[in-house]
């Protein structure tokens, strides 16, 4: 079965400058593929190219080179849009329409008859938590409420693939939890969800796979657990029955030593030498093991490190040509 979304060497250059146009590479040869039924997190700091990628997928902008396909068809294939939904970043809809009218307008574009439209609109507005306000004009809505309407309009056609650009933005913690649950429900219904975010906590709790972009380039892609697996930073060892001097002797390279209670120490060890050896020496010195844990990067640490590395290499794409 072909991937739900297939992106291959997708590149977007913008010409900036007034007189001598210099190319600014907003996206540099992005290649990822998203399988059906996945929740895929597209992460990166602001300006990394997340929104550019989404706009390229919606063919709001055209690629400089490379290609992408959704559900086996090239992006821009109009009939495919019958099966996808899209929520833009900080969306704006027609503020003279009510929430119901907006959804009705879009539902008409999908070709549903009046009765069908009514059912869908009612169901979706309930699902995103818009109650009596649905009869008010959008100009009266708060940012969070517009965001909910945006999610509703992305789902009006029961899409197979849903694209969400910063779906949590503008929502309070309660709202974010609701959206998170909604995304999980979508996955349970067999839909594919592709969402971009700069909030890593959401990715950690939702995504099966992620991609990290920074400076227009792909910094990493894969399962969350795989990405973090290689990144053991060190070990946390808790022992009792030893003295500080003994510790200093056995583990001179320890990064941090703190005494929890007399004789009870927490030591942070580097990855080398292997902790087993330090433990053996401490036991030989009379200590006993309480616990030994690997210290991993959080997604945050990973993110910051990768972004910093990518950012310093962003300049002058033309130098490579």
């Amino acid at each position: 079965m072909p991937p739900a979304i297939a992106i291959e060497e997708l590149t977007k250059d913008y010409a900036v400058g007034f007189w001598r146009k210099r190319p600014y590479r907003a996206l540099d040869r992005l290649s990822i593929s998203i399988e059906t039924g996945e929740i895929f997190g597209f992460l990166g700091p602001n300006g990394a190219g997340k929104t550019t990628t989404l706009k390229l997928l919606m063919q709001l902008i055209f690629p400089t080179s490379g290609r992408a396909e959704i559900l086996g068809q090239p992006v821009g294939h109009v009939a495919t849009r019958q099966r996808i939904g899209y929520l833009a970043e900080n969306p704006y809809y027609y503020d003279y329409l009510t929430a119901e009218e907006l959804l009705g307008y879009f539902a008409q574009l999908f070709g549903y008859d009046a009765a069908d439209r009514r059912k869908r609109i009612a169901r979706l507005l309930d699902e995103v938590g818009i109650g009596g306000e649905r009869r008010l004009q959008l100009r009266k809505f708060s940012k969070g409420m517009v965001q909910r309407v945006g999610i509703a309009q992305a789902l009006i056609n029961d899409p197979d693939v849903v694209f969400l650009d910063e779906p949590m933005s503008g929502l309070d913690p309660l709202g974010r939890r609701e959206v998170r649950n909604l995304i999980l429900r979508l996955r349970d219904q067999g839909r594919t969800v592709f969402f971009s975010s700069h909030i890593l906590a959401d990715a950690e709790s939702l995504c099966s796979r992620i991609a990290v972009v920074a400076g227009g380039r792909l910094a990493a892609a894969g399962r969350v657990s795989d990405i973090l697996a290689f990144e053991i930073r060190g070990w946390e060892l808790i022992v009792t029955g030893v003295t500080r001097e003994a510790l200093a002797l056995v583990a001179p390279g320890a990064r941090r030593t703190s005494e929890i209670s007399p004789g009870h120490f927490t030591i942070e060890l580097a990855t080398e030498p292997p902790p087993e050896r330090v433990l053996a020496d401490l036991i030989a010195a009379g200590g006993s093991l309480v616990s030994l844990h690997p210290i991993r990067d959080t997604l945050e640490d990973f993110f910051v490190k990768r972004v910093a590395a990518a950012g310093s290499a962003r300049e002058m794409p033309s130098a490579r040509d």
């Binding site: 291959e8 055209f62 490379g66 290609r67 396909e69 086996g72 068809q73 090239p74 992006v75 821009g76």
Partner: protein, 306 residues
């Protein structure tokens, strides 16, 4: 992945380009057809469309009086020129005065409109509407707007001289023109000679020669034509004298060929534009050919049949 199709911005499909070309060609040809079939407005429509009361137009023109004056000026010339292109029988210059009147109401300093208007309004048919009275009215309006402009007074005098044959009034206006500052110094003697000699062709020649110096192309053309007409009339007189001196033998007919054979003339005499003069075989009367572009001569230059 499916076949490698270009995913950049769509190239302009051939159909669109063809569509554009067809639309342009079609629109232009419809335009040309319509212009041809319904050639120009009917006179009535033109009068209603183009010509309204000067004051009304002045008010509607907002601050663009001078621009509107230009528009009406273009229409005036177009109207005059367009009529000249018609067959003689169909010429009708009735919009000329209203159009130049409007032009000068909108822009009282539009001197070319006064002068052009005066000259061509006075032209007798078929060259013009033959309305020297309108010409005078127009020029007087110019004088009211710019009393110091000697050209207007000069033109008034000329209309009286050439079209009304009212030499006293003409001389009076030449005199008044000569008294204005910046007036050229040939106006005073001109006034005198007009007063004295009246139908003197020399004064007329002098006047037309002055106009020949004008910067305006069409004024120069008009003056050149008038001078050619005077030359033609002089030539007619001279030829008539020759013809009278060498009548054909008794019972014979007058002809140019006979005179050429008799070595009286070197060749068939032609007028300044190259058209041969007419010689009546029976009466021996020399005249300007009707086919000549200088014809018809102004009233006062035509010699009465003897």
């Amino acid at each position: 992945m499916t076949a490698r199709t270009h995913q950049g911005p769509p190239a302009a499909p051939l159909a669109a380009i063809a569509g554009i070309v067809l639309c342009v060609a079609g629109a232009v040809s419809l335009q040309i057809t319509r212009d041809r079939l319904y050639a120009g407005q009917s006179r009535e429509t033109a009068r209603i469309l183009y010509v309204q009361s000067g004051e009304a137009v002045k008010r509607l023109a907002l601050d663009f009086d001078a621009l509107w004056a230009d528009v009406y000026w273009i229409r005036a010339i177009q109207h005059y020129g367009g009529e000249r292109l018609n067959d003689v029988a169909r010429r009708n210059y009735e919009l000329l005065f209203p159009l130049v009147d409007l032009t000068t109401t909108l822009d009282p300093y539009f001197s070319i409109a006064y002068r052009f208007g005066a000259i061509f309004l006075s032209e007798p048919p078929p060259g013009g509407p033959g309305r020297p009275d309108q010409a005078i009215a127009l020029l007087r309006k110019g004088v009211a707007a710019q009393p110091g402009k000697w050209q207007y007074l000069h033109d008034i005098a000329f209309v009286y001289y050439w079209h009304f044959r009212d030499f006293d009034t003409a001389a009076m206006w030449f005199q008044r023109a000569s008294e204005l500052p910046n007036a050229p110094n040939w106006l005073k003697p001109l006034a005198a000679s007009v007063l004295g000699a009246g139908s003197d062709r020399a004064s007329a020649r002098f006047l037309w020669n002055q106009i020949l110096q004008s910067e305006e192309e069409w004024l120069r053309r008009n003056a050149a034509r008038a001078l050619s007409q005077l030359d033609a009339v002089d030539a007619v007189d001279a030829l008539q004298a020759i013809v009278n001196r060498f009548p054909p033998p008794a019972g014979g007919q007058y002809s140019w060929e006979a005179l050429v054979r008799r070595r009286v003339l070197r060749g068939i005499p032609v007028d300044p534009v190259g058209t041969p003069f007419e010689l009546d075989p029976a009466t021996g009367r020399v005249a300007l050919s009707r086919n000549s572009s200088l014809s018809p001569l102004p009233q006062h230059l035509q010699t009465p049949p003897s």
